[in-house]
Each structure stands twice: as structure tokens, then as C-alpha cells.
Symmetry: C2
Subunit: 201 residues, 2 copies
């Protein structure tokens, strides 16, 4: 029941934003009534907080499944970048929730005790890859895991978040047919190129 409310609320908040979403609308799409929303969550803002946490939890859980330790560092980095690109592409609602949260200056993210530790692990895979890459003499030392994560996130996130405005202005070539594959390939190439020492490219 709580789960049902959460998933409906996530879709509604993702579709309409915090102030745009309607409690009555959420209730109508639920198997239960509005009364239960208040019973479980108290008010709209706390419902949104729980949705935010749930969104991060789901997405991070999906990321944990990726196994990289058995691959050489360059292959691992490639796979991680590709995975992130596809993963974000498969979770547009999560992207939208994060967009909305950024619109709100991260006010509700700050309030949550849960999300920071949840995400701390998101960069550990990259740290392990970088360590192995440096130890093998392949990776530059002046490019940090955090920076790599930033670049990968930027291109993977933007690819979903700004699709509508971008395609409206510049056409849909980048999103139809093999446009997405090309973008992904280029993104991976850029990231790996940045991580590698110039002489090892």
C-alpha cells in the first residue's frame, strides 16, 4: 500500500513537479484513498521527500549490480561509462526527479539523512578503477575519480534531461536510429581519452 502510493507519487511528481503535482490526482491513481496518503506520509512535502529517497535508492541499487573488478581498468571504465549512459536513459523519472530537486536548490535533498550515505558508494567503483589504472601506469594522476564521474554524469544526464528542448530546436537526429549509439560511443571515447596518459592512447 505504502509502496503503491510511493510509485504513483513518483510518477506524478516526475511528471508535474512538486507544486504541479496534485494530491487528489495521486490518490485517484492509487489503489487507495487520499486519507491513506496523509496517514502514511503526513503531508505533501514529506511525501515528496520519501519519493526523492526512493528514487535515489532504486537507481543506486541498479548500479550496484555492475561487476567490474575482473576487467582491466580501461575496459572497466568503458563499461561503467556505457552502463551509466544506458542506465540514465532507462530511468527518465529519476532524471526528472533530480531536475526538479535542482530547481528547488536541493532543499529536500538536504533534509534527507539517507541520501548522502546512499550516494557515497556511487563513486567507489570509479575510485577502484582509477587506482588500478594508475598502478598499471595507464592513467593520468591529475584526473580524479570525481571529475570522471562528473563528466560521465553530465553527458549521460543531459542526454535525457534536455532531450525535448534540444530536439525541438535542432531536430531528432541524435535520438533516432543509431544517433544514441554514436553519442554513447563518443562519450566513452572522450572519457577514456581523458583518463589515459597521452602516450598510452
Amino acid at each position: 500500500m505504502r509502496k503503491n502510493i510511493l510509485s504513483v507519487a513518483m510518477a506524478e511528481f516526475a511528471a508535474n513537479g512538486l507544486s504541479g503535482a496534485r494530491i487528489d490526482e495521486i490518490a485517484a491513481k492509487t489503489n487507495t484513498s487520499k486519507r491513506m496518503i496523509y496517514y502514511y506520509f503526513g503531508d505533501k512535502e514529506r511525501l515528496y521527500e520519501r519519493v526523492l529517497e526512493e528514487a535515489y535508492r532504486e537507481v543506486r541499487a541498479g548500479e550496484q549490480e555492475l561487476e567490474l573488478d575482473h576487467l582491466p581498468p580501461v575496459e572497466a571504465l568503458k563499461l561503467l561509462a556505457e552502463f551509466t549512459f544506458d542506465h540514465h536513459s532507462r530511468h527518465p523519472d529519476f532524471i526528472r526527479i533530480v531536475m526538479i530537486e535542482n530547481i528547488h536548490h536541493g532543499a529536500y535533498l538536504e533534509r534527507s539523512e539517507l541520501i548522502r550515505p546512499l550516494n557515497a558508494g556511487a563513486i567507489q567503483k570509479l575510485e577502484a578503477i582509477c587506482r588500478r589504472g594508475r598502478e598499471a601506469g595507464l592513467f593520468r594522476k591529475d584526473v580524479t575519480p570525481l571529475q570522471l564521474h562528473w563528466h560521465i554524469s553530465a553527458m549521460s544526464f543531459f542526454n535525457v534531461s534536455n532531450r525535448t528542448t534540444f530536439s525541438h530546436i535542432f531536430g531528432t537526429d541524435l535520438f533516432m536510429g543509431d544517433g544514441q549509439e554514436a553519442l554513447k560511443r563518443q562519450m566513452v571515447e572522450m572519457v577514456v581519452g581523458l583518463a589515459l596518459k597521452p602516450e598510452r592512447r
Copy 2:
């Protein structure tokens, strides 16, 4: 008067979103009254449309001032990428308006007859650079101007749009001190590296 309303409205919409912004609040921060907003703009949605157009207009106007034709292609590409990064960084309200528009699936962008032609020119500089780069035998042929624009936009846009959530989760290292300079340098390096033929890097 109209101008005054527009600039106040842009700040309000950028800060709170479409449904989050309050007409009364906009009116209060204006030199005039709420009635004048309706006198000039009709209703909230049309006010938002005008704000959207104005935001694109201002930002594109700023971009036009960049002179690149006298530079060799690689230098021109570097400068364009750097400029875009800084330009977006200097116009957070524009970024937020575009974020909000994406939240709304570009519904208001579609309605505007003005914005598409306004943005068509945004990619011309890049097309000229690419043409010169290819003619000089420096640039790859399988990387299009649109793709380069996409990558540059992604990293420059995300750098502003997702700053709050990202810095809350991963700390502010990338945004304080010379963190931004490093990111910009890396972004330029990646983009140039993608555009150039492997043997010319």
C-alpha cells in the same frame, strides 16, 4: 514597464518554476501592479512564454558577439567551448528556465514561433569551424557539428543545472577554488580530442 515585468518574472520563474511562481509575488517585486501583468501579457502562461523567449534571446545575443573566423580551427573550437562553459556559468537563470521548460516537455517552446529560428544560428559558428577543420585535414569526418554542440552543451549546462544536488552529495571541490578551471580545461581537451583525427592529436 513591460521590460521591468519581464525581468522580474524571469527571476521568479527561474527561482520557482511555472506553477511555483506566484503572480502576486511577481507583481510585488515590480514597480507596478498585478493588473498590469494581465494588461500586458494576458495570463500566466503567456507571461511565461514571453519570459522563455526573452531568455533565449538574451543568451543567444551574448553568444553572437564571439569572433572566431580569424582563428585557426582548433583554436576557434577551443575558444568556443570555453566561451560556452563560461557563458552558461554566467547565466544561471537561463539554465533554470531551460530546465523548467524541459520539465514541461518543451510544451511552451513548441508554442513559440520565435525560438527555433533564433537558435538555428547557434550552431553556425560550429559548422564553420568544422568545415575549416576538415578542409585543413585536421578534423574527423564522422563527428558532426551537432554532436560537438551536444557534448559542449551537456558539460556546460550540467555544470550549472546540477550543481546543488551534486555538490550536496559529493562536496564542493569541483566548484570552489580552481575546480571550475580544471573542469573547463578537461572539457575543452575532450571536445578537441574528439574532433581531431587520431593522428593529429
